[in-house]
Amino acid sequence: MNAIELYLTLGIAVFLLSLHGLMTLYDPIRRLIAVNLMGAGTFLVMVSLARRSEVPDPVLHALVVTGLVVAISATAFALRLIIAGSKNDKTDSGGGNRKP
């Protein structure tokens, strides 16, 4: 097993491990972290695929960069939502509808 294959396997393992986390965890922050780790696994796979040739494949690098941008902004958005949602849970625990 050469280095690239090792990284590939590692990437897949990270992906699967964090997928398991996503499916079993309940707390939204933890789930968000799990998703981010899935992303890390995916990017690891992509970067190691790019290393297979002598000249690293620029297309895959471009993809990883784009993917990272998307992941960061989405994570920020998700954090904002989760925090706002939990605040709302604390302040408004008894509210309900006017009618059943």
Partner: protein
């Protein structure tokens, strides 16, 4: 092609403009601008459709003059042109409702709906697996933001929706990476002749399919949809159920009917078709039991997507490209009908002050127009002639019935029809109750009710252009 680009650029440009203008414009003005730009986009899409129909073949464009393989390549087929028209039309109908109904909508809706429109248009036109990923992400993020417009109560379902959507995108992205690693291509048309049925391709396709099915809420990965769609503001629910879930479905179709090698496609076909049949039944049964109006409508989306999934599965099983006509007719008919259902459900909820199905007692008297809209749109979901839903069902039935060996699949259509009739008429029957009428909570908004009826009338109007639509989707000159 220029018209198609225009149809894509107008909403994106309009969305950016609104974003930059910040709070300078009043909500009404914002709405007006968006509706005008949607009309413009619709007109452009219509011309693009004429162009595509006249060409009779796909039109390709490399953005920015790069060579094929590096450039962002766009593809205009008669299907993508039709979907452009459909997207613009849905945005127009729902935008009119959002702008003119009394409840109104938050200012941010308008910019977000522009981005949603733009990203969907880009999705229909993309011919590159990575571009498709970008549009998919844009679509998902915008959709989540729109769910959150409903206020603090929706934050939780919105966050859950977002996390699942991100995970699904990563599944897809990993699959794309594997395919690229195997073949060194991302372009759909360049990839198509090269794919082989080996382990890596299987794994990649499996990953992508899982992600896309999760995004499209296809059974058994549908559980996130009902809470997310039911908690969004009315106009947003209509957009989500009518349009957004169709995006990943489109990619799934491209993936399996073009990229995947036929041998693999034939293997997965029956699996998808059976999942579709289960979706029809299970989603329908959940809708039948749901105590809340909007949840019922959301589960009906899960069920109706089963038809599309079944059409896709059978298309792959039998390698019958013309089955995609049924698939896309279902998508369009369902989109229009579902828009009406959600708008009507939302209007009835606010007029009657109740979210529960029981609260609709006597609705034919208290909110007659909205209830009528619900019933008319429901008729198309059931597939009563001559609605759009019937058209789609008919096209799906033809190949099933032409071979005695295929007849068992007809059971799926039969079940789907009966189950949808059961949940639609569950609501309709309650609304005729005169023994214990639920009185109006507030004076109903007449404009809103009539606007809810509009898409339903259009889906029944599809019958008049049925033959034209079928020929258009068949790809030949019209």
């Amino acid at each position: 092609m220029n018209f198609a680009l225009l149809s894509l650029a107008i909403p994106l440009f309009c969305g950016l403009l609104l974003l930059l203008s910040g709070r300078a414009l009043r909500t009404r003005t914002t709405g007006f601008i968006v509706i005008v730009s949607t009309v413009a986009s619709l007109v452009a899409a219509w011309f693009a459709l004429q162009e595509a129909a006249a060409a009779g073949a796909d039109i390709m464009l490399n953005l920015g003059g790069w060579e094929t393989g590096l450039a962002i390549r766009l593809r205009l087929s008669s299907l993508s042109a039709l979907l452009l028209v459909f997207t613009a039309l849905m945005h127009l109908l729902i935008g009119l409702y959002a702008g003119l109904s009394r409840d109104g909508i938050k200012r941010d809706y308008w910019a977000l709906s522009c981005f949603l429109h733009g990203s969907l248009a880009a999705l229909w036109l993309s011919a590159d697996l990575f571009n498709l990923y970008i549009t998919l992400e844009l679509l998902g993020l915008t959709a989540v933001a729109m769910v959150a417009l409903a206020g603090p109560k929706a934050y939780k379902p919105a966050a859950n929706y977002l996390i699942l959507s991100l995970a699904a995108s990563l599944f897809y992205l990993l699959g794309v990476a594997l395919l690229y690693g195997r073949y060194g291509e991302l372009d759909v048309l360049l990839l198509a002749p090269r794919t082989q049925a080996d382990v890596i391709t299987r794994l990649a396709l499996l990953l992508m399919t899982t992600g896309l099915m999760l995004k499209a809420a296809l059974w058994p990965l549908h559980l996130w949809l009902p809470p997310a769609h039911a908690s969004a503001p009315t106009a947003v629910s209509a957009l989500l159920s009518g349009l957004v879930v169709k995006g990943p479905l489109f990619i799934l179709w491209v993936l399996w009917s073009e990229v995947a090698p036929p041998t693999l496609a034939q293997q997965i076909g029956p699996v998808l078709a059976i999942a579709g049949m289960i979706a029809l039944t299970a989603g329908g049964l959940s809708a039948m039991r749901s105590p809340h109006i909007k949840t019922l409508v959301a589960y009906s989306t899960v069920a109706q997507l089963g038809y599309a999934l079944m059409a896709l599965g059978l298309l792959l099983t039998w390698q019958l490209p013309q089955m995609h006509i049924a698939l896309w007719l279902f998508v369009i008919a369902h989109g229009l009908a579902k828009a009406s259902l959600f708008l009507a459900a939302g209007e009835m909820q606010s007029s009657l002050g109740t979210k529960r199905v029981d609260g609709l007692r006597g609705a034919t008297q208290t909110v007659p127009v909205a209830m009528f809209a619900f019933a008319v749109a429901g008729g198309s979901l059931i597939g009563l002639p001559p609605s759009g839903g019937f058209l789609a069902k008919w096209v799906l039935l033809e190949p099933i019935l032409s071979e005695p060996g295929n007849w068992p699949w007809a059971m799926g259509v039969l079940l789907g029809t009966l189950v949808s009739a059961a949940y639609i008429f569950r609501i309709v029957a309650i609304s005729f109750d005169r023994a214990q009428i639920n009185p109006l909570d507030i004076n109903p908004d007449r404009v809103g009710h009539w606007l809810a009826l509009l898409p339903a009338l259009m889906v029944w109007g599809m019958a008049l252009s049925g033959e034209w639509l079928i020929r258009l989707l068949a790809g030949g000159p019209v």
